[in-house]
Assembly symmetry: C2
Homo-oligomer: 387 residues x 2
Amino acid sequence: MGVLAQQVVAAIQSVVGDTKAGLHEPKFTSSEYRLVQNCLDSTMVSSVGEYVERFEENLAEYTGSPYVVAMSSGTAALHIALLVAGVGPDDEVLVPALSFVATANAVVYCGAIPHFIDSDTTTLGMDPGRLRDYLVETTETQKGRCVNRVTGRTVRALVPMHTYGHPLLIDEILEIGKEFNLTIIEDAAEALGSTASGKHMGTFGDAGILSFNGNKIITTGGGGALLTGDRKLASRARHLSTTAKIPHKWKYIHDEVGFNYRMPNLNAAIGCAQLTKLSVFVERKRELYLEYKSAFSTVSGVRIFEEPEGCRSNYWLQTLILDESFEDEIDEILEETNRCGYMTRPAWTPLHKLKPYETCPKMRLEVSESLARRIINLPSSPGLMRQ
Amino acid sequence: MGVLAQQVVAAIQSVVGDTKAGLHEPKFTSSEYRLVQNCLDSTMVSSVGEYVERFEENLAEYTGSPYVVAMSSGTAALHIALLVAGVGPDDEVLVPALSFVATANAVVYCGAIPHFIDSDTTTLGMDPGRLRDYLVETTETQKGRCVNRVTGRTVRALVPMHTYGHPLLIDEILEIGKEFNLTIIEDAAEALGSTASGKHMGTFGDAGILSFNGNKIITTGGGGALLTGDRKLASRARHLSTTAKIPHKWKYIHDEVGFNYRMPNLNAAIGCAQLTKLSVFVERKRELYLEYKSAFSTVSGVRIFEEPEGCRSNYWLQTLILDESFEDEIDEILEETNRCGYMTRPAWTPLHKLKPYETCPKMRLEVSESLARRIINLPSSPGLMRQ
C-alpha cells in the first residue's frame, strides 16, 4: 500500500476508531419507534394521515419555507418543481455537471434537455462568474426569454445544487437568474440544515427540493419535499403529486396528467421523529468536520473541504480533496479505505460523461472533471465520533 | 330519502353493523409492528435491505411469477413495465376507459398515447369480442407492427385491467395480443389474490403489475411490484427503477435515464407481514361477498357483482350495480350511505371524459359509460363481518 493511502486510513481510524464505518448511516431512538407504532395503530399508513401534514408543518418551521409539499423522493420533488416552474418539452435547463444523476434525469422527465455548467472549487457548486460569462457569450434575450444561440432552444431554468450540503454562492446565482430571466429551482437534496446568511438553503429560489433518502442527514426511508414561498406554485405541486385529482367526497375527476408521488404517512412518521434531532445531527457533523480536519492536518497532498465563507454547512458528507499531483492515487485510496472497513466513495461521474447525457449542450467543464478525479467522501454518520 | 337509498343503507347495515365503515381499511397485527421494529433496528430503512428481497421472494412464491421487482407505487411499476415492453414516444397503447387514471398516466409518461377500449358487463374488464372487431376494422399489420389506420401510429401494447380484483377474460385477451402483435401488460393493481384457471392474475401477459397502496388488499403504505416470467425484462426493470446505475462498489455510472422508484425497506417490512395474511383476507372478502349478496337479494333494481365464471376473485371492492332504470338514483344513494357513515364511492369517471384525455383515440364506449353511471363500491375491509 502506498504512503498516502496508508496515511488516509490512519487519519480516518484516528477519528472513527477501529470498528467498521459506513458512509452515512441513520440514527434512530425511541421516538422513531413510537411514531411508527402510532401510525400503525391509526391504520393510516398511506398518503392520507396526520404525519404527512405534521412533517410538512415541522419542515416549514425548521426551514422557514412558507409552503412545503412532502413527496416520495427528492427526484419526484425536483420533477414536480420543474413542471410547476413551467419547464416543458424542448426547453433547456442549466444543471451542474458535478451532481447526482437525478438532477439531470428530472429535467428529461419534463421532456427538456439538461445543459451542463461547471463548478467552483471553493463551493463545489456552480461557478457564478464563469456561468455569467458563458450565458453572455452563448445566449440572447428574445421576447423576455433566454435563448441558446447555438441550439435555438429556450433556456428556461437554472438548478443550482448544494454539493454534500455545502451552500454555493446563492446570491450571485439569484442575480444571474434575474439578469437572464431564468427560473431558479434549488436542488438542496443534501443541504437540509445548511444556511447562508441565516436563511435555509432551498428557500432562495422560486422553489427548492430536499431529499430524505436513507443516506441523507435525516431519512424517511425514501422521500423528498418541495419548498416554495409561492402559494399558487405550492398548490399546483400538491395537485400534480396527488394524481391531479380535484378534491371531492367520492368523485374521481383529474384535470391534468398527474403523478403518484405523495409521501406515505408511515414514512412521514419517521420523518417527524428524525426532524426533532436534526439540530443535534448538524452539530455533531460540524464537530466531525473539525476532527477530520485535525486528523488530516499532518497529511500532505490532501485537504478536508471546509464550508464556504458566509454560510453554515450541515457537512452532510465529509469531503477529502486530493491535490492534483496526487490524483492518480485515488483508486488505491478508495480500495484501501474500503478494504479496511471505512466506507468511502468518489464524486459522481460528471453527468456529461454518462452515456445518456454525452450529447447534451455544455460549457467547458474542466473544474468539474478535475474535482471528480480528486474528491473522496469519508464516513460521515452523525453517530460517528472519537469515543 | 328515496326508497332505494333507504334499502341500500339497510342492507349495508345488516352486513357491517351500526358502526362506521370505511371503503377499505388495512388490518395490522403484531407481525407488522415486529417487522417494522426489526427494520428500524437494522437502520436499513431505505432502498437496500433484507425486507425488499424477502417481499419480492414471497410475492414470487404466492403469485407463481418467476421474477418480481418491488417499486414505490403501482403507477411506477406500470410506467417501468411499459418502458421495458418497448412503449415509446408516439406509440398508442390500448387501455380500458373504465380504470383508475394511473393506467392512462403511465402511458403518457412514456410519451405514448392512450387509446380507450370498452368494457364487458360480465367482467367489468375489456370486452375481447368487441376489441377484436374494432382492431380488425381500424388497424392493419405493417412489417409485423399493428398500425392504427386513422392516426398512422403504431399500436404497441394492450393493458387489460382486472376491475376491483375481478379477472377479465384473459385467455381471449392473450389471443388478441398474438393476433395483432401487441405486448400484453396486465394491470393487476387491484387483483392480488385473484386467479383464473388457478393461475395468478398479472402472470399471464408479458408483464403485470400490482399495487400495495393504503386501500389495497394488502398495503405497504405506498408501493407496487412488477411481475414477469422474462429474466431479461425483469433485470432491465430493476435497473431502470434504481436510477440505471451499473453495480459497482463505489463508482457512479448510469447507462440510461433511470428512475428512483425502488420500494424502501421500511415499506417492504410491512408488506412481508401483510403477505402472510393475504389468504385469510381473500377468504374473508369472499365471505363478505356472500353476506352482501344475501343482504341485497331482496332489494330490487340492484345486484351485487359476482366473479366471472372460471376464475376466483379476491373481491377487493364489493360492487353494487344499479339497473339502468335506477341510475338516476346513484347520487342519492352515495349521499345517504356516506351520510350514515358507510363509505361508498362510484366508479371512476371514464378516462376519455377527463380533460387530459378528451382527444385521445377511442372505440365506442357505451358500456363503460353506462357502468360508470351505475356502479357503487361498498365498504369492503377484510375486518368487516357481521358480528
